[in-house]
């Protein structure tokens, strides 16, 4: 073929006007072939001359000399995708890839809807996609693009690796560009060059297996484009673009690509009722038989009517309450920073008995088998008999216990501020102990024989419940004090990096993540097919738990550091702005 030169247009002597000059040297011995080559070159010139799009280089001139022909084109400052891929050693981000893909869809759509005749690019591949200095796509090399005339069977052209099967049979239509775009995206996201692999074998290299950071939504869009049968791909490049935008929206990166996120409701959400306490609400509320019970740092625990937030009673302790109450047999159990566990009658708000520990209580109690279990800053896990109010035993650990114990199969699992996680049996005997590098303030959760919890050391752990062996470890951006929740083989947690993570329980792979504006310190809750989680940015987020897509967010005036409680389609959540809110789920 020929070379492409960088040249200076001397028609403008006073400035440096750069152009690209594409040269075609026609050395073909055979007359027929020579004619074909000239025709192709002219064709490129003609097509470019008629096109006006920001992603297509402008053509300034076309001329011939001896057996050479030249195209003078706009000079593109930048690099092509093939060079970008080979010069980097890490995967392109999903955000970047989707950005570029949408621009490519734009220009292909422009070509496909060109009048009088649609143009099929037919040579979509990374080396034909240039990224200019503004990070925008420029499509180059229109040498084989041709106005498409339906029903025509041309000779086979197109680069191996990115071309669809039908192009090899000479039957390419606009659907070929869709496949080639999918192939280009696949290469970009997996760094696996399809020319080095057997043809049409993209299915053997699933994107998420090679690059798990890619969302399943994006993978799904690319897989559709790569369908063997053109009928199974997107009907038009416009539909592929829509699907890409949809995938970006679902994975939450759309907010960073396009600024028009107006759709998401924030202000239209009105609480069903609110109740104001005298200080921050740091602990989760409890729902019990039509009542909502919540503690506040104002030393009180309040009993409210769940239906309308009407005040029923309040009970004053001598210290702040930062934990969730538990209930058993009509009694509310709550720990306070006044070192005591208080047991209050749920209906009357009158105190039944209290139990003293030697440190502040910041761990929420759990009731099981006639005992209430809770930790204290006095480094012990206390087991108190519910009927007598007397301690049955206490387990002394090495550091304060702020984690809420989790009880299953006569074993109590809890973490401590020193990073130890303990499994203790109902007699108070240690079964096993695991050491994380920093505090485990969060409460563990056990599902299918595996204990899940996060640590301030930025890791999320999955341990085998009987022996305490680490099965897997997932690294988050920052430390976490969030207690995980589980649904549908997915574990959900949040961290101080402001991200809510959804991790596949068996394989430790991240399925999706959602970025909030500030730390996540409150635990998420799953209800029906949504996940609800508050953040220090004051907002309560409601996401679809399978995809991480934002449904709505509700803004309060203070950090939300506790888990909401949901009953009968109503979400109850407390905030540092002193209010407890009841919202429609």
């Amino acid at each position: 073929m020929g070379s492409v030169y960088r040249a200076r247009d001397l028609h403008f002597p006073n400035v440096v006007k750069l152009v690209a000059v594409k040269e075609m040297i026609n050395r073909a011995p055979d007359q027929m072939i020579r004619q074909t080559i000239i025709k192709n070159f002219e064709r490129e010139a003609n097509i470019l001359a008629t096109l006006n799009h920001r992603s297509i280089p402008r053509i300034y001139d076309y001329f011939s000399e001896d057996n050479r022909s030249y195209l003078v084109l706009e000079f593109i400052h930048g690099k092509d995708l093939e060079a970008i891929i080979s010069e980097s050693d890490s995967f392109a981000s999903e955000e970047q890839a989707v950005n570029w893909a949408i621009e490519l869809c734009d220009v292909l759509e422009f070509l496909h809807t060109h009048k009088p005749e649609p143009i099929i690019f037919r040579d979509m591949k990374p080396s034909n996609v240039m990224i200019n200095l503004e990070n925008h796509i420029i499509l180059v090399d229109f040498g084989i693009a041709k106005p498409f005339m339906a029903g025509q069977k041309g000779t086979m052209i197109g680069t191996e690796g990115y071309s669809p099967p039908e192009q090899y049979r000479g039957e390419a239509n606009h659907s070929a560009d869709i496949y080639a775009l999918g192939a280009t995206m696949h290469h970009l996201l997996t760094r696996r060059d399809p020319r080095l692999e057997p043809p049409f074998s993209f299915i053997e290299r699933p994107i998420r297996k090679i690059n798990p950071a890619v969302s399943s939504e994006l993978e799904s869009v690319i897989n559709t484009a790569l369908q063997y049968d053109p009928k199974d791909r997107f009907e038009s490049i416009g539909m592929m673009k829509e699907a890409l935008v949809g995938a970006a929206r679902k994975t939450g990166i759309l907010n960073r690509i396009r600024q028009n996120t107006g759709n998401i409701q924030t202000s239209s959400l009105k609480p069903l009722w609110t109740f104001q306490c005298e200080d921050e609400i740091k602990g989760s509320p409890l729902y019990y038989e039509g009542g909502i019970y919540v503690g506040s740092r104002d030393h009180n625990i309040y009993g409210l009517k769940a239906a309308n937030g009407e005040f029923s009673w309040k009970y004053a302790t001598d210290g702040g309450i930062v934990t969730r109450p538990a209930v058993f047999d009509g009694n509310i159990f709550i720990g306070s920073e006044d070192h005591r566990l208080h047991v209050i009658n749920a209906r009357s708000g009158k105190i039944n008995w209290t139990y003293f520990t030697e440190g502040r209580i910041r761990s929420s109690p759990r009731v099981s088998e006639g005992h209430v279990f809770f930790g204290s800053d006095d480094k012990s896990l206390h087991a108190v008999n519910v009927l007598t109010g007397r301690a049955s035993w206490k387990f002394v650990s090495a550091s304060p216990i702020r984690s809420t114990p989790y009880i299953l199969n006569e074993t109590i699992y809890f973490g401590s501020e020193g990073g130890d996680v303990y499994a203790v049996d109902f007699r108070g005997d240690l079964k096993w102990r695991f050491k994380a590098k920093l505090a485990v303030t969060s409460s563990p959760m056990v599902q299918d024989g595996v204990v899940y919890f996060g640590s301030v050391d930025s890791s999320f752990y999955a341990l085998e419940a009987k022996g305490g062996w680490i099965i897997w470890r997932f690294r988050m951006g920052k430390g976490s004090i969030v207690s995980p929740c589980f649904s549908d083989n997915l574990v959900f947690t949040g961290a101080a990096d402001g991200i809510i993570y959804a991790i596949e329980a068996r394989t430790a792979k991240e399925i999706w993540h959602f970025q909030a504006d500030h730390q996540i310190s409150g635990s998420p809750v799953i209800y029906k097919d949504s996940i609800y989680c508050g953040s220090a940015d004051g907002k309560l987020y409601c996401l679809e738990y399978r995809t991480g897509r934002l449904r709505w967010k509700f803004e309060t005036q203070g950090a939300i550091t506790s888990a909401p409680v949901i009953f009968d389609d109503i979400v109850y959540v407390g905030s540092a702005d002193h209010f407890i809110y009841a919202l429609l789920a």
Binding site: R192, E204, E464, K466
Partner: protein, 301 residues
């Protein structure tokens, strides 16, 4: 009054006719049937792993290119006793005896890597692991990949490994050897995904399972240890089938013995070792076209 009550009497009769499905009389269970249900709920103290294995070159190959490894131990630290096991099956491929070298190197590299990693735990009851099991398995696979490429370049091997700790099994898998969960009630479930071309086509709905079984390229793998610079094994953790068995086997077994027959042999055998021998015999009886390997594991708890 009487007529009022008569209506009731009649109602009963009608109920019997219309709602016949509500009043079915079933045959009482036999003593054996009741026993079978109760024995499954037996509790074993301490929890223990029971293992059997069987191999055969088969009827049509002249040498064996499969390799296996089993390691079973009870780890106790005074407060807690947990079973621990490492089980590996590898099926090698490649000319000039390279298949045998590939599978054997893979198995020995992984086994020695794991034993080295777990050595502190074996030596000292109070020691704990620094790395997670999944991380350790990933590293073991990497080591094996290096070793196979070095010892038998151009060859490859499958690998299906089960690391059993307490009640959880962590399965690491590349290729088309398989791990099955065989539950006492007859359910045989395939736990691993074959990394074969036909399996991929099946998953995409391009061919049916029956077509896959006779497809001319059914032995073509797109992923194997020793092949390609970029290697990723499938790793996941799941609870051990209780009550039931875990079966690790090469395609010399699953390729010719059906799920139903596997269950039949396993449930009818006198003990776990006999079960393995029966499975191997069944594969040979069906023609024995390939090397046969089987490891059968039971967790009694």
């Amino acid at each position: 009054m009487k007529s009022f009550f008569k209506k009731f009497g009649r109602k009963k009769k009608i109920q019997k006719e219309i709602g016949g499905s509500q009043n079915i009389i079933t045959a009482p269970l036999s003593e054996e049937q009741i026993q079978a249900v109760f024995t499954r709920n037996m509790h074993f103290e301490p929890p223990q792993l029971v293992v059997g294995c069987g191999q055969s070159t088969g009827r049509q190959r002249d040498h064996n290119e499969d390799s296996i490894f089993t390691f079973t131990v009870t780890l106790g630290n005074g407060t807690n006793t947990q079973p621990f096991g490492i089980y590996l099956v590898a099926d090698g491929m490649g000319g000039h005896q390279y298949g045998e070298v590939a599978s054997n190197v893979a198995v020995r590299t992984i086994a020695s890597f794991l034993l080295r990693k777990f050595h502190p735990i074996l030596a000292d009851a109070t020691a704990t692991l620094d790395e997670s099991l999944q991380e350790i398995m990933q590293a073991a696979v990497k080591e094996a990949q290096r070793a196979v490429v070095k010892a038998a370049p151009g060859s490859g091997t499958t690998l299906t490994a089960a690391l059993i700790m307490g009640q959880q099994m962590t399965i690491t898998h590349i290729g088309d050897s398989r791990a099955y969960s065989i539950q006492s009630d007859g359910r045989v479930s395939l736990l691993t995904r074959d990394h074969s071309l036909v399996r991929r086509l099946e998953e995409l709905g391009q061919i049916t399972p029956d077509e896959a079984a006779i497809h001319p390229q059914r032995n073509v793998l797109y992923r194997a240890l020793g092949q390609a610079d970029f290697l990723e094994a499938d790793i996941f953790t799941a609870p051990f089938p209780q009550p039931g068995h875990l079966l690790l086997c090469s395609d010399g077994l699953w390729g010719v013995v059906s799920d139903a027959e596997i269950f039949h042999k396993v449930s009818k055998a006198k003990n776990i070792q006999t079960a393995c021998q029966d499975l191997v015999e069944a594969a040979n009886a069906a023609g024995g076209p390939d090397n046969i390997s089987a490891i059968l594991i039971q967790l009694l708890d």
